[in-house]
């Protein structure tokens, strides 16, 4: 049997973290939207996919990966704002299944639109020139872009954490996710907070699409498996829990990548096994509180 060195294991762990970073970003957006609006956003994978397309498009347009990194979440977030304002908002107060069905339908509209705009084959991508190559981590060489993914995710999640824990608007979000009625009594137009949270969640989904684009095929269907995997992550982490989304995202990425090393044919299955095990031991997820919102 071939020796699998300790260094290879560590490198594979890093690869898993890079993959998990994307999952964590997606799950944070899903959890933020669910925790605040009680909307299960079935279009989250589609926002991810649109982010990948627009990321490539803006990159071609401006020639700069960094411009694209700013423009893409703004554009996808703007689409998210319009969807909340005109499609999701009329469904509040009618139960959880209405927005679920709506966003499910919306995801297919977005998929078709990208097919019409960019063709059935999707668009080619490559790692931006300034992030090509490998870096020596001391345990071996690791692709620069994957390291960038881990760092970028840490920065985005750190900024989001500061926003939610340390700012006035973050306090409104924390209070409003637990008791929208008292926040309304205290003068907050909660509908506007929901709008903004949906915008932030979808902007992060778009950003993760852009970040993931150089590492995978960009086509209109790319969001479908990603949506399923993101739900696995939110269920493992606990619906509505942001720390849960981050930890579970990284965990799922590492489990996937470690299984690929030993038994590639079971990699996809392994994350569902992980979900089943977590659900058996802690039905509310790692960080979830019993009874959804806690």
């Amino acid at each position: 049997m071939a020796e699998i060195s300790f260094q290879l294991l560590l490198l594979q762990l890093m690869t898993g973290l890079a993959l998990g970073a994307i999952y964590a970003l997606l799950a944070v957006g899903l959890s933020l939207i669910f925790g605040m609006l009680t909307v299960v956003n079935f279009a989250h994978g589609a926002f991810f996919m649109v982010g990948a397309f627009l990321g490539v498009y803006f990159l071609g347009l401006t020639g700069s990966f960094w411009f694209s990194l700013v423009l893409t979440p703004l554009a996808v977030g703007a689409i998210g704002l319009l969807c909340e304002r005109f499609l999701v908002r009329p469904l509040y107060g009618r139960g959880i299944d209405y927005p679920l069905l709506l966003t499910f339908g919306l995801s297919y509209v977005m998929i078709e639109s990208m097919r019409v705009l960019f063709g059935l084959e999707g668009v080619p991508t490559s790692v931006p020139a300034e992030l090509k190559g490998v870096v020596d981590l001391g345990i071996g060489s690791f692709p620069t872009y994957r390291l960038f993914l881990i760092v970028a995710t840490a920065v985005i999640i750190g900024a989001l954490w500061l926003f939610i824990e340390k700012t006035r608007y973050g306090l409104i979000i924390r209070a409003g996710s637990r008791d929208p009625e008292i926040v309304r009594i205290l003068g907050v137009d909660i509908a506007r907070v929901w709008l903004i949270v949906f915008g932030i969640g979808t902007a992060i989904a778009g950003l993760s699409g852009l970040l993931a684009a150089p590492t995978r095929a960009v086509n209109a269907e790319m969001g479908i498996p990603v949506l399923a995997e993101s739900f696995v992550v939110t269920v493992v982490g606990g619906m509505g829990s942001l720390p849960g989304a981050v930890v579970a995202g990284l965990l799922v990425g590492v489990v996937f990548s470690m299984t690929s090393l030993f038994a590639p044919e079971y990699a996809e299955l392994s994350i569902f096994v992980l979900m089943a095990v977590v659900l058996l031991v802690r039905p509310q997820g790692l960080f979830g509180k019993a009874g959804l919102m806690g």
């Binding site: 008791d179 008292i182 009594i185 003068g187 137009d189």
Partner: protein, 238 residues
């Protein structure tokens, strides 16, 4: 009456099909303390909640400070100077006492004064002062009630509606609470109170209305109602 700050006319409200507020009319004058009394299920809470815009199906007229507000969105009442302390206190779990107080000014233009207001409020509520960094829901029932009132007072409202503030609160704290209401009244805050504690309530009340089955069945000054044992036993026994 021309100096009514709150004027309710033919107010009706429903939970789905059930018609729980059936044509209620009353006035509260600026600076007054007015109490709504009546048995459990009489419709007191529903009356306050429909004034606050929190029952979806409502009809009639509510004029606050010269503005018709019944159909306006619930959050706009805060900006008109109308505060509400709901029955179940609604201290937000996971937030500290300080953060709960901050919420009281979070939507206000005066939010830059939050820290100063918390210091000021802490003078009035010494029990909260020592517990500012504690989680709000870890306080005792009476302290949570004090916190809910303090939070509503942060924005210096012109008028405050309070739904059974003394319910489940231990007697020492109830004393403190009613002293506080008397002080609020002296400072010119108009109060609409729902209370089951008849003698306590009437001690600070100018006028009272008695509700039964969604309607007003009696009204009078505190002295008149205190003198009337029949009304008390018929409508106010808990």
């Amino acid at each position: 009456m021309s100096n009514a700050i709150l004027s309710v006319r033919d107010l009706n409200a429903w939970y789905d099909r059930s018609h729980v507020v059936q044509g209620i009319s009353f006035d509260v004058n600026a600076g007054e303390v007015v109490t709504l009394m009546g048995r459990n299920g009489a419709g007191k809470t529903s009356t306050l909640r429909s004034i606050m815009g929190m029952l979806d199906k409502r009809a009639g007229s509510v004029v606050f400070n010269g503005q018709e507000i019944l159909a306006t969105p619930a959050f706009s009442r805060f900006h008109a100077g109308l505060a509400f302390v709901p029955e179940d206190r609604r201290i937000v779990p996971g937030l500290t006492v300080r953060e709960n107080l901050q919420l009281g000014l979070i939507a206000s233009r005066a939010r830059d004064t939050t820290d100063a207001m918390i210091d000021e409020i802490a003078q009035t509520f010494p029990r909260l002062k020592e517990r500012l960094s504690q989680e709000g829901t870890s306080l005792s029932g009476g302290e949570q009630q004090m916190l809910a009132i303090a939070r509503a007072m942060m924005a210096k409202p012109r008028m405050i509606l309070m739904d059974e503030p003394s319910e489940g609160v231990m007697p020492v704290l109830v004393d403190e609470m009613f002293e506080l209401f008397a002080r609020m009244k002296r400072n010119g805050v108009t109060i609409l109170l729902v209370e089951q504690n008849v003698e306590r309530a009437l001690s600070i009340t100018d006028r009272a209305y008695i509700l039964d089955q969604g309607r007003i069945v009696h009204q009078g000054t505190a002295a008149e109602l205190l003198a009337d044992d029949e009304i008390q036993s018929k409508y106010c026994a808990v």
